[in-house]
Structures are given as structure tokens and as C-alpha cells.
Symmetry: C2
DNA sequence: GCATGTGAACAGGTTCACAGCT
DNA sequence: AGCTGTGAACCTGTTCACATGC
């Protein structure tokens, strides 16, 4: 019952759609009602046909001769991506980064609700962070079921990432987002996303170096 | 005096090189001395020729019939990317995320040293976070010069990101990495990298949705 | 012999140009 | 008239296959 027009959607498209949503929501707050692909493209710094192509994967959302209704387009994209609802997440690893994510309201705003915080450090278990009690990672299976969690977020140090992943797999999680700088092994049916901000740092360093080397 | 073999290097290549460095460093810790492109490829989950092509942009680092010397390759890549030295960074916006980054030792380990923390909130100015005193953002120009800072890291809320960017531009920064979910405007000669972990969340949500819709 | 380095073939994503609607 | 939707052209990045060199 998929309403996709095409089979495979480029990951770059998903990334851009996330940006469009970001921009559309801020446009909506500014009470902009209609926008053309050309205008939206300028804001997002992409090619207008790129936007139209990206949207074409999912359907026809615009009005010819007019443009796109901001509100409509926004909810259509979110619906197409499956982010028109709340996703419950389990965060594993209550360190600095974990705490920052737990406190970051934007996650909830965008539909990703951290419903449980887990750690295997006995000193952390029981502590309350941002209204959530830290629970022993071993209890993931029971809690995932109870709290209706579908996504796992790994924020452990690299050496404990695989163990965290194992707990999540055992708990029957459907997808994992890991911030730990290591590759992890999980069964094929589980989607894994690696968040790696270092390549952004590398890229900036490289670009600066390139420019400096030009002399 | 560039030692690049080719003019433009795909951003995807840079991203993978960052992964290779990550993996090579962990291999080195495990005392692995030599590795073939095939083996490295399996770990990084890419195609072996991909690795060889990525490296070919910068030179010849391998030994035919043998493979790559882990230690050598690691330092060669870092040198090629310009991350074989320390980069001083200014962090603007001492909120939850900013604090997490300030405390995250990995940044320093990888050569990105946060040398100054800035905020415009008078309640935060003067506070000491992870050994750094929070300084008024207005003082960026003087501090950037004094501390020899080349990279700016924006961790403000979205509505203050542009202002932070302006301060950084005025301070003559060379590159910016922003974690705020908004587009910012800066002069062309300044490299900007947008860190956006939401698309990872979107992607996981989308993949799960796809799988669920298959029924 | 064996794994790298690389030109040639391929695949996939992006842009163009215009047909199709409103 | 104007902007979307889309097939075709283009271009960039990936994979293949083999020549090259240790």
C-alpha cells in the first residue's frame, strides 16, 4: 500500500526534504502562505528542479502557475516521510552528549520523543535527567515494550557502542541512530544511521588548508 | 604548492576519509600493521576500489602486492586533509549542546581544540565550563586574534545563529560549523558546514515507515 | 603472486527544457 | 501567463577490470 511513485529514493533527497521541512516551518511562522520552487530553492541553496524532482518521488503537491501552499506542502512531506507522528526513542548512554540530547527540546518538537534513558553505570542509574530516571541498560527489552519504543539512540563511548546495540537489538528495536564514532554490527532488517560530525570539522579544516596552500 | 592530483575532491570522499582515519586509528590501537583495501573496505562497508580511488586523489600510499601500512596511511590521510595539526576553535552559544561539546574530550583528541567559549547571555558570562570562562560574544574579534582561532562553532538557538555568524565573520574567522537548524549568510570565502542530525532521524523514521507500509 | 593504481564502463543523481495545468 | 511536473541530456561519483610494480 505504498504511495511511492518510484522504488528507491536517494538518501540525498531525504536529507533535502528534512531541510525543506525546516524552512517551511519557519516560513509558516512568518505567515508565508504560498512559495514557488524557485523561491524555496534560493533559501535552501539548491536548484529549483531539484526540489520539484524530490517532491515528485512522493506525489504532486504543487499548483501549476501558483506554487506550493506552505502549510500543505509541509504536512505532505512529513506524512510522506512518516514524521507526521511521534516516534518514541530510547537513549542509551547518559554522558555529556546524552544529557544534551535529553535536554534538547527540539527533538520532542520534531516528533522524536526520548521516552527512556539507559546506562549501565550504577552511579548513573536512578539519577533523574530532564525528568527521566536513568534505567539499567539490561532492562531495555521490558522498557521498550512498555514505553512503545521503536528507535534507539546510542550516545555511549565508542567501546560500549556495540554492547548498547546488542541490547537494543534484543529489545526488538526497529532502527538505531548512533553518535559513537565506531561501526556497529546489527541484523540487516534494522536501519542504522551513523551521526558523525567530525567529517564536518575535517571538511572545514580541509577547505581552509586548500585555500591556504594556494599561496 | 598543492600536491593534489586532481582539482576537485568530492565531499563524499572527504566524509569517507574521515571514516578511514577513525578505523585506522582503532586498528593501530589493536597493533594491526598492514591492511589491504579489501579488508579496510569490509570494515567501512564500502567498495575496495572506492578506497583506492579516494586515496588516489592525494597520492600513492600503498605498496603493491602488500597493502597499506596502517600507521603510515593514517598520517598520510591526516596530512592530506590538513588535520595533522591542532585547529583552534571558538564555540558560540553555551547551551546544552555547547556544554556537551566543550566537555567532549574527543574534539581535542582529534585536533579540534575549543580555545574559547562565547555567549551573549549576561548570566552565562563569567561562568566556567570545562575549564573555560564564558566570554561575551562581542569580544570575539579580540579573542580570536589573541587565541589564534580559525574555526567558529555555532551552538546557539536558531534565532541567534545569524548574529553569532556575524560576530565570527567580523572576527575574521576562516570557517564555520553550525549546529543550529537554520541557514546562515556569510561571505563566499568562508566555508560553512551545516550539522544536521535530524535528517538521520528522518531517515530512520522513513525506513521503518517504508518497511511497515509494505504490509 | 598479489594488492595497488587507474582508464574505461556504468550507475545514479542533477540540471535542462519544455509540455501540461490552473 | 506562470509555475509545476517530467522525460531527456548531462554530469559526477562509483564500480569494474586489468595493467603495473613490489
Amino acid at each position: 500500500m505504498s504511495n511511492l511513485k518510484s522504488e528507491h529514493i536517494p538518501r540525498a533527497t531525504i536529507q533535502r526534504l528534512a531541510i525543506y521541512v525546516q524552512v517551511l516551518e519557519s516560513l509558516r511562522n512568518d505567515n508565508v502562505e504560498v512559495i514557488s520552487s524557485e523561491h524555496l530553492a534560493r533559501i535552501c541553496d539548491v536548484n529549483p528542479s531539484q526540489i520539484r524532482k524530490d517532491l515528485a518521488y512522493f506525489g504532486e503537491f504543487g499548483v501549476r502557475g501558483v506554487g506550493y501552499y506552505v502549510q500543505d506542502l509541509n504536512s505532505s512531506i512529513k506524512k510522506a516521510l512518516g514524521v507526521d507522528r511521534t516516534w518514541n526513542c530510547a537513549l542509551v548512554g547518559v554522558g555529556n552528549l546524552g544529557r544534551a540530547i535529553l535536554r534538547h527540546k527540539v527533538f520532542k518538537q520534531r516528533g522524536f520523543h526520548i521516552a527512556g534513558a539507559f546506562d549501565c553505570d550504577p552511579f548513573k542509574i536512578g539519577e533523574v535527567v530532564s525528568g527521566l530516571e536513568v534505567i539499567c541498560s539490561r532492562r531495555l527489552p521490558e522498557k521498550v515494550k512498555e514505553l512503545n519504543i521503536e528507535i534507539g539512540v546510542i550516545t555511549t563511548p565508542p567501546e560500549r557502542a556495540q554492547r548498547a546495540a546488542n541490547y537494543l537489538v534484543d529489545a526488538n528495536i526497529k532502527g538505531i541512530i548512533t553518535f559513537a564514532p565506531t561501526r556497529i554490527n546489527v541484523p540487516d532488517h534494522i536501519t542504522v544511521e551513523y551521526v558523525d560530525f567530525f567529517h564536518h570539522f575535517f571538511n572545514v579544516a580541509f577547505n581552509i588548508t586548500l585555500k591556504d596552500r594556494e599561496d
